[in-house]
Symmetry: C2
Subunit: 360 residues, 2 copies
């Protein structure tokens, strides 16, 4: 019995060393918020995104100076890079020339057919895929007039752009259809998932301030991933890009689509709680992140009702109460210690878990 549905079958594209679609792991993306022409600042941000766990980074290319800057940036990073292009096909050509690994570009917006063909030819030569990125905020006027900003309109717009690329014999395509409305975005992706087999890039756009954006993204992206839909994700927050990556990864962890290095399961604490759980969890998290441990699940519980059950389920568990800490390893009680020693004991048991895992 598995809640995450069988994953939708999609074609696979390659973005430098990152595979997107097919049965490849869901890739996490973000976008630099710096002025791309400021190479030093942009490199700093790319580095921070890389450290946070970002798989693919997108950069805005608003003009030719930005396109030229991509060349310097390319020299300094091996990270998979996407150039975000609007309106001007020469920017797309310059970005390809600079060595980007993917374009984000809506062919319907760049004008005459020969311009599209030129971009497609250059992309094909380099094995670079193109993401069609439809956004509820910038739909074509004729579609908008006919249908409004409904999910059908997003799908219609995406398929129109897809058609243009297909007419050029190009099928190395990724599709996104973002809306700031979670329900609209869910419905649009569910609709297109059955219509084409291109990999899908999921996102809630203009998600807003960090708290709201985190939750809107977790609901919208999480829903689709749980339905087996989605090959790469981008969380949009009006905030730090590293935070976008953290949220994206956490959504994948929540659905078991990626393995978390350290998962702490802890109770919300209630009137039954007999230890200062907030402090214990914070302190334990700090200590454990400083240790060299394998991916593992650690339970920290403050009572005897759900504590032992959850602790037994985890790799290492601690159930505190009555001035005592009961330590669990691999589902068995291994020892009891005084409350004052329980964090230390927890760390020790995690090390034992590691050593046993390495020995076996």
């Amino acid at each position: 019995m598995e809640a995450v549905q069988v994953r939708r079958r999609s074609r696979q594209v390659r973005v430098r060393d990152v595979l997107v679609g097919g049965q490849a792991p869901v890739a996490v993306q973000s976008m630099t918020k710096t002025d791309t022409r400021d190479v030093a600042a942009t490199m700093d941000e790319i580095y921070r995104l890389h450290v946070a766990g970002c798989d693919i980074v997108r950069l805005a290319v608003p003009d030719m100076d930005a396109a030229r800057a991509l060349r310097d940036i390319r020299r300094q990073t091996q990270m998979a890079m996407v150039a975000d292009i609007h309106f001007d096909y020469r920017l797309a050509l310059a970005a390809l020339e600079a060595g980007v690994d993917k374009l984000r570009l809506n062919p319907g917006n760049i004008g005459a057919r020969h311009k599209v063909e030129e971009v497609v030819r250059a992309a094909r030569e380099r094995g670079v895929p193109i993401r069609i990125g439809v956004n509820a905020g910038s739909l074509e006027k004729d579609i908008l007039d006919r249908s409004g900003r409904v999910p059908d309109a997003l799908v219609e717009s995406a398929l129109r752009h897809v058609g243009i690329l297909e007419d050029c014999g190009f099928s190395d395509i990724v599709i996104s259809m973002k809306s700031s409305d979670v329900r609209t975005m869910i419905a649009a992706y569910e609709m297109i998932a059955d219509r084409v087999d291109y990999p899908l890039h999921l996102g809630v756009t203009e998600a807003g301030p960090s708290f709201q954006g985190t939750i809107k993204s977790a609901v919208g992206i999480g829903y689709l991933l749980a339905r087996g839909i989605g090959d790469t994700i981008r969380v949009s927050l009006t905030g730090d890009g590293g935070e976008e990556v953290k949220v994206g990864l956490e959504i994948l962890y929540a659905l078991g689509l990626r393995e978390k290095r350290l998962e702490i399961v802890s109770c919300p604490s209630c009137g039954r709680c007999e230890i200062d759980l907030f402090t214990v969890v914070r302190e334990a998290e700090k200590r454990l992140l400083g240790e060299d441990l394998p991916p593992m699940k650690v339970a920290i519980m403050g009572c005897v009702v759900n504590g032992p059950g959850e602790s037994m389920e985890a790799d290492v568990g601690l159930a505190g109460g009555n001035g005592l800490g009961i330590l669990f390893r691999n589902g068995r009680i291994v020892r009891r210690v005084a409350e004052a020693e329980m964090i230390e004991a927890l760390v020790e048991e995690c090390r034992r878990f590691r050593d046993e895992a390495r020995a076996s």
Copy 2:
């Protein structure tokens, strides 16, 4: 076209003035983290939860002193209160006596049949529903031995407890089946949703530290609500109860299940962004929350690509760039102002939107 599915039909129960199930709005719950016997501290927390927007508050009742404290607490609040009882049926009777509006109690854990019957009789007399709260951390040993901590085991356990209440002729039941694993929780609720028509209380238990817990809850609870499943929700965080309520409400807003007072849609900012968007959004949010405004959607965008589209979609919108702010109201451009004046202009347009809404 609607992404949130038709809501599952459930019976309705009443928890003081809060209806749960049927077509009632999804109610948001939290739980006090104080020692229930400390009436003053518990009242403080109930007040904070109330202010945050909590509909129903649960209190742990670990002993007879806590049950007696409920009486004092009851006198001081009109909020819908749930007594959380484990093992001892006399605590349930004392809590009912104290005037609580709902019990959370698993009848299979309180022993002899006559004890269950006594609780059921007292609950029925007072029109008080009972939530069966199954938790993956405290499943019955026989079920666990047979099936492990899989979704089927949660469902089996819940149905067993339900059967005991039904045998006593009691059907004023709410069911929860929580797990710290999002996929397990989703699968269990999806399974039971087709088996019974009792209202469902959703939650991811032991969700862990605030950041992780927020995302696990948004994914798990959000998924089920989007599938039309769930009548009341509790977000569990190892952190502040008010935060639990805020997260719960934000999940409902994201799915359009509750109307948000002020929704700010803002872009993540990128290399195209021409204004200091983070500062503008923060400042605007602060200003607008201090105004007397109706529920409304405000877009704040930092470029001309998606800015105008999103701004037109909102009740009031601001698209900044090139030292200018373009103001939108009800989908139309209403004026252009210098960048330095754009927040003030935004506030003014929001007031105009309010005045027009009130006049019409």
